[in-house]
């Protein structure tokens, strides 16, 4: 049960947050189709630190960029998006 420090609300339980995707899988509206599909359908899926997008969906609704380790679950940074 992660404790995620929301930049607006302070540390809150994971229950309030929703994982969206990795930062490198964001599909921009003006991406060419091959770029978009590659972003959408492939992941590095690192067994280490990765950059992720989460939202404080059940709290203030803020979208967040987390750097988080996939083995230890340690959150190294949280920034508002």
């Amino acid at each position: 049960m992660l404790l995620i420090p929301c930049p607006h609300c302070g540390p809150r339980n994971q229950e309030e947050f929703a994982y969206e995707r990795t930062l490198d899988s964001v599909v921009r509206l003006d991406d060419a189709p091959d770029v978009a599909l590659s972003a959408l359908y492939t992941r590095a899926n690192l067994r280490g630190d990765d950059h992720e997008i989460w939202t404080h969906a059940q709290g203030c609704g803020q979208w967040l960029r987390l750097t988080r380790h996939r083995m230890t679950h340690a959150i190294h940074s949280v920034e508002p998006l």
Partner: protein, 156 residues
């Protein structure tokens, strides 16, 4: 229990400022104190609660006119949202303990005193919490979930 009272939120407005807006400047422009994160302020028109980085709630009939305040239009927008919320007023000394049965927020923290606000899951429902006094707390519950939450808070 009479110390858990539910009523429609009534005159409740959402004030959304653009990401680029400076809250302090807006506050000055529309003569309205815009509280910092986690806080609420009250004036003669009603209560202003901070909900998120860009959203405040204005509770009170006195805020209705702001929707047409031209000083605001460059910075944000106001929308009536009160139909969607039930205001549950807890006026019992153990309201903090009650919240601790329904969610995972530190309602017992010494800093979570009068004038504090928070949004969190209570009874699995996203609720807005406003501490009004040491022994009084308002919980704003999405209206359709009112019965679900009250049943738990009233011990049914």
């Amino acid at each position: 229990m009479t110390d858990v009272i539910a009523s429609p939120a009534g005159a409740l407005f959402a004030l959304d400022l653009w990401h680029s807006a400076d809250p302090a400047a807006v506050a000055a422009a529309i003569s309205l104190a815009l509280p910092a994160p986690g806080q609420a302020v009250e004036d003669e028109r009603g209560t202003v609660l901070r909900l998120s980085r860009q959203r405040w709630w204005l509770l009170g009939d006195g805020f209705a006119d702001l929707a047409h305040d031209s000083a605001l239009t460059d910075h944000g927008v106001i929308s009536a949202v009160g139909g969607g919320w039930t205001r549950v007023q807890m006026t019992r000394p153990d309201w903090r303990a009650l919240l601790m049965t329904s969610g995972l927020i530190d309602a017992e923290h010494p800093d979570f005193g009068p004038g504090s606000t928070a949004i969190s899951l209570l009874c699995h429902v996203r609720c807005v919490i406003h501490v009004r006094a040491a022994q009084a707390c308002d919980i704003f519950v999405p209206a359709s979930y009112t019965d679900h939450c009250l049943a738990q808070w009233r011990g049914q």
